[in-house]
Symmetry: C2
Subunit: 553 residues, 2 copies
């Protein structure tokens, strides 16, 4: 009888930090060895972080990774870890002809390290080139299945997209009599994706008659959050072990044979709101930490968006790292100030006041403007103040716009849009409210102070740029707006299809025209965590100069 | 003997404006018929404009194009133009299986219209998925050569990238006994690309023993400029006709056989500086016009960048459409004001003054800041003023940053970076000076007033954000800086390679760290015309969170 103890190392690499990432991998191999493992499997491209985008087309970068992998193999051996089989993801320069795509010069690899050297290598075959991914741009596909033996079992390798598409080397696993397939992943979070992923893994196991060890990365990288959730299924497709979600983990399993595997099962059955909240927290935390920010600054308007962003920031970085700024104007309501104070006191964050009235009066008298131009000046004075505080105190500025607002351009560019990170960029307004209620309920269920003032949730939303203004002066009710936007943006439906779903023609025309006209603003917007199937940014690529909605297409 | 009169219709479509584009095509077919042509060839995707990016993945949009093409064919026939052969580029939904790439749902087609219907169709085979292009994301490749006969000659079809890469249907042209290959193109301008393009066309002619009619689009679309320059070579590879560059044109040629073709030869042998200038003018003009702006506003600092942008804007839109704003501070030199006035008077543009001193004093006293934070406040007050004027008077705001400055982050985000379009975004500082000198010399050679004040060209560049500041306080000389940046950005060389080229280690480390750290700012920057082989934007895709330079890779 064979028996292998295998560790799935779910780590959080930083893009470009080859030495730091491999140091972390080295520690995990030591931990795995201490836990008695003979085989360790890391995530996709763990040596460089993921995705590295056009760094994959930079020869010196890829060459330095290859060198670092060789050194890593020697280091393992020098430190008495050479007997382990270590499966690690990294890029390497492609060999031979590259007919299909002359721009791509490297491959996305899984290498098996043993006895101080690489004994087997697999190159990713299916290269995702949709949604946020550009892998066909950057990589040359591999064509052949790679297997190796360890502890009397036969292992095969696969990388992420390989199990999401039909055909390719993965389809030859059963014919090769493989016991266990090791899948290295950089699979980002998306609402509702988790179940699809689990089904795919079980399908692979059943169809190819193989156990599957699925190791995912964890952590935030720009707009993506890798949610971890690594898992093992046996050859019947039954889940036999599962790692933590949204945090680093080392999941150790004992494999007797492909049908007899035992390991730890993390309980993780978050509600949809909880998993979204956790993704947003991790995305914000890692953007700040990986870019060397220890604190954030944001404007507190008393409204729901800034309240949710502040609560996320506290969950991500702690209350002492969050700096709120009230910036009242002559049009600010009493509650805009009292709700902001209430929020700060509930969260225990720093708060200060920087009134904009005198600056606004000065600009108004010097420039003599009114209407939209004057409204925008208020938002831009606030942006200037936030950036000044950020510059002086070295905080990351958070911009608090939600997806609905970004969709229709209901924000002032260089005003409330200023900032390096947009925590709720991909969260539509109706979901912002749901998240706020969920977070408060969670606090209450734990006998903690609910972080978000009830009044910020229940009052009518307003930009307060003129007396008595509310959002619904110029926009339909948010449930209607979000549904139209969902059809137009997420589902990519056309004007006639949306009208056919039951909305008035002029309403639909007005909304889709707003969306298309705001493209230039979105193009200049901060990045923020993707949680939906169609986030703004590299997920949805449309021209700025674009008459399609104006021409009713 | 056969003889066909053929017209290459070099037109300027607007992305998404299907009806407007096809109306323009209809007029060109009429013009071609009036000129006696039997066959008309348009550019790639002329019906929708190009590139349409993810509009190609929107079923309702693509379906409406297909419908519009059918109607266009009928309209030609109804108007007595059905006897012509009209070759037109457009997308259509792909038929059948799409194994390779499930995201792509359409094809990039060339359709031959005759007698009121489409009689032949070719689908682009080679899909560029590098540089600014994402065609593998959006299109399904075609696999077969399409030929048709007209006027006793045999024609083949090809689309743009098909002639830039080896293999594919184009390689079967000679074997099919083709007389003339019609190539539909959306080939954007890049400095030095023109000769490569001409060589490729001549190579195709010689290798496949075919005459080649190469029709390019013309005009600006966001960051791309299509330079026209359509041309015809006979089967020996000899150029026999050539259209205008940087403007619409209808080039009519008479084809006796593949070796006997005659037509108009536009003289067009611009210097490199002249072609760059023309590309920048067209890119700026079309961005403004296609987005319904009649005028632009920009800050005039007395420096070279704003002077060149103002001169470009005058060449693009006329002097009455250009609004300059002086925004002097306490640190502004005497010449910053006098040089701006001199520029405005040379160009004949509108100019006004909006001093920032009182606003700056107010913010400084309220916020109590100094150093970088205070410097940035000045730039942000200027940004606020420009945007206020833009909002009030409906001008497109131009941001005047050059490529060198964007590379190293030597600008204030939400300050001097505000604007919808960045005319010299892809022009490095040393080239800005060359363009200024070239433009002045051109004016002098035509006995006109040289537009750019000599003092703006010759004085040491300064942001004037503190007393006596010049750029070289914090940056190396621009010729050195531009060379290092060229190695790091354009040529994608690594740190060690740049050091090996002869620069000091600490200088190289400092510069490449500046470049990587400024990625978040560039991501929020305005678009601007691409003129180089590696422009910022979708041409160069790198993560914001990226430790590769910090780790010296």
């Amino acid at each position: 009888m064979s028996a292998v103890r295998l560790a799935l190392a779910q780590t959080n690499p930083v893009v470009g930090d080859i030495s730091g990432n491999l140091d972390a991998c080295f520690l995990e191999v030591k931990n795995a060895e201490a836990a008695g493992a003979q085989l360790v499997v890391f995530g996709e491209m763990v040596a460089t972080g993921y995705p590295i985008e056009d760094l994959a087309s930079k020869p010196s970068f890829v060459a330095s990774v290859e060198e670092a992998i060789s050194e890593f193999a020697k280091r393992l051996e020098t430190n008495g870890l050479g007997h382990l089989f270590v499966v690690i993801g990294h890029p390497a320069l492609a060999q031979g002809e590259r007919e299909l795509n002359f721009w791509a010069l490297s491959q996305n690899l899984a290498s098996v390290i043993h006895d101080g050297r690489v004994i087997a290598t697999y190159a990713k075959h299916h290269l995702p080139n949709y949604s946020v991914f550009d892998e066909y741009r950057n990589f040359v596909p591999g064509e052949t299945l790679t297997t190796f033996e360890a502890g009397g079992l036969k292992f095969a390798l696969a990388i992420c997209e390989d199990i999401w598409q039909a055909g390719g080397p993965v389809s030859e696993i059963a014919a090769n009599g493989v016991d266990v397939t090791l899948v290295l992943n950089g699979s980002p979070f998306e609402t509702g994706k988790r179940n699809t992923r689990i089904e795919l893994i079980a399908d692979l196991a059943k169809k190819q008659r193989t156990a599957v060890c699925y190791t995912n990365l964890v952590g935030g990288q720009d707009d993506l959050v890798f949610d971890g959730d690594s898992l093992v299924v046996d050859a019947t497709g039954t889940q036999v072990a599962r790692a933590k979600r949204f945090e680093s983990d080392l999941l150790v399993v004992d494999i007797e044979n492909k049908n007899e595997i035992s390991g730890r099962q993390e309980q993780s059955s978050e509600s949809e709101l909880e998993e979204i909240w956790n993704a947003l927290v991790l995305g914000l935390r890692d953007y700040a930490v990986k870019n060397s920010f220890r604190s954030v600054v944001l404007g507190l308007s008393g409204g729901i968006d800034s309240a949710v962003c502040a609560a996320l920031a506290v969950d991500a970085l702690g209350k002492d790292a969050v700096f709120g700024v009230k910036m009242p104007s002559a049009y600010s309501s009493e509650h805009s100030i009292s709700d902001a104070d209430d929020l700060a006191s509930r969260l225990g964050i720093n708060i200060r006041s920087a009134p904009i009235e005198s600056a606004f009066d000065l600009f108004e008298s010097e420039l003599g403007l009114d209407g939209l131009a004057a409204e925008n000046i208020q938002a831009r004075i606030r942006g200037l103040i936030l950036m000044a505080i950020s510059n002086a105190e070295n905080h990351l500025t958070l911009t608090t716009g939600n997806k609905t607002e970004l969709s229709v351009g209901y924000s002032t560019i260089y005003g409330d849009s200023v900032g390096g990170f947009a925590p709720i960029k991909d969260v539509k307004k109706t979901l912002v409210w749901e998240l706020a209620r969920w977070r408060n309920e969670k606090a209450e269920s734990q006998s903690q102070v609910s972080p978000i003032p009830e009044n910020s949730i229940s009052k009518p939303p307003s930009a307060e740029l003129r007396p008595g203004q509310v959002d619904q002066d110029s926009l339909p009710e948010y449930d209607i707006l979000d549904d139209i936007l969902d059809q137009y943006i997420q589902r990519m439906l056309g004007r006639d299809e949306i009208i056919a779903s039951g909305y008035a023609t002029d309403l639909v025309d007005r909304i889709i025209t707003l969306v298309d006209r705001a493209e230039w603003k979105r193009r200049q917007g901060a990045i923020g965590t993707k949680i939906s199937g169609m986030a703004f940014g590299r997920d949805r690529r449309l021209p700025i100069t674009n008459k399609s909605s104006a021409r009713r297409n």
